[in-house]
Amino acid sequence: MASKRRGLPEINAGSMADIAFLLLIFFLVTTTMDQDTGIARKLPPMPEEELQEEDPQIHAKNIYTVLINSHNQLLVEGELMDISQLKDGAKKFINNNGIDPNSSENPEKAIISLQNDRGTEYMTYIRVQNELAAAYTDLRNNASLNEFGERYADLNKTQMKEIRKMYPQKISEAEPKNIGGDE
């Protein structure tokens, strides 16, 4: 009776914080903050059957062949190579500029040909892709530091285009064969 006369009593909001904490902890636990990251690549379109384009003539010296077998071993330009040396090897090849007559003429003509076996592990494939991408990133960074005094990632769009023209990332992937070992 007494309380009625005084009007409705205030609702105790003391436990509000506890409820909010409970929810907060639930969302904290379920949240995945990780952003999806990955290596972006573009697949070549399917060749049209009727339109048999003539293969453009490419000098063998402008191609850097990288083969990966089913035992995850690398054969680069006919020689066995450890994956840790691939980046430097690719950089040397791309930036040859005709110094070595058996290597690329200039970075624009340099093509990296990658072929893997059906039994190659995905991890190795990604590592090779990563090393090759890293080689290009290094070269582009060097070029943009020389030209514009900034790293490639900090350039504006037209500058980026210019650098990309100097070092086009040409990685061609042949369809896999059973290069070595059966699995």
């Binding site: 909010a20 949240t31 990251t37 059906r118 995905y122 990604i126 590592r127 699995e183």
Partner: protein, 155 residues
């Protein structure tokens, strides 16, 4: 000086916790907004390989995911341990990829189709054979923008 001494004698006043719920609610809303609930249950176990030359995947609404890996333990009794492809919420065969891409495209605006990316989330132990088959199907479906999902790090 005397002022301080007076306070000290009385003891510290209790800190008001009345604004605590407000602060907690603020945090709560932040996490509620930023949370992305996983929309598909994974039937395959995927540990993506590590790489350094990675790019962030932008515009998540335009990304379709293809998961490749060996089935998780509770599915192994019925599906074995060989690597399998998962599209949406079910195991799929390689032939179903074209259909999957077509349905993904239908759900998007026509203008956005060229910007659509397919993210391949494959386990690092998967063999390239299955990945190559997937890539061939994607080429046939003309879904040429792909992204090999990787973690940041080096071996």
């Amino acid at each position: 000086m005397s002022k301080f001494r007076k306070d000290g004698k009385k003891g510290m006043p209790a800190i008001s916790t009345a604004s605590l719920p407000d602060i907690v609610f603020m945090l709560l809303f932040f996490f509620m907004v930023t949370t992305v609930m996983r929309e598909t249950t994974l039937f395959v176990s995927v540990t993506t390989p590590k790489a350094t030359e990675i790019k962030k995947l932008k515009k998540k609404s335009l990304v379709s995911y293809i998961y490749i890996g060996s089935p998780v333990r509770r599915m192994q009794s019925s599906y074995g341990t060989a690597a399998r492809i998962q599209l949406n919420d079910a195991f799929a065969s390689v032939d179903e990829i074209q259909e999957f891409i077509a349905t993904e495209r239908e759900a998007r605006d026509e203008k956005e189709i060229p910007y659509m990316t397919t993210s391949i989330k494959a386990d690092e132990t998967v063999k390239m054979g299955i990945i190559t088959d997937v890539k061939q199907e994607l080429r046939k479906a003309n879904a040429l923008k792909i992204n090999y999902s990787t973690r940041k790090g080096t071996y």
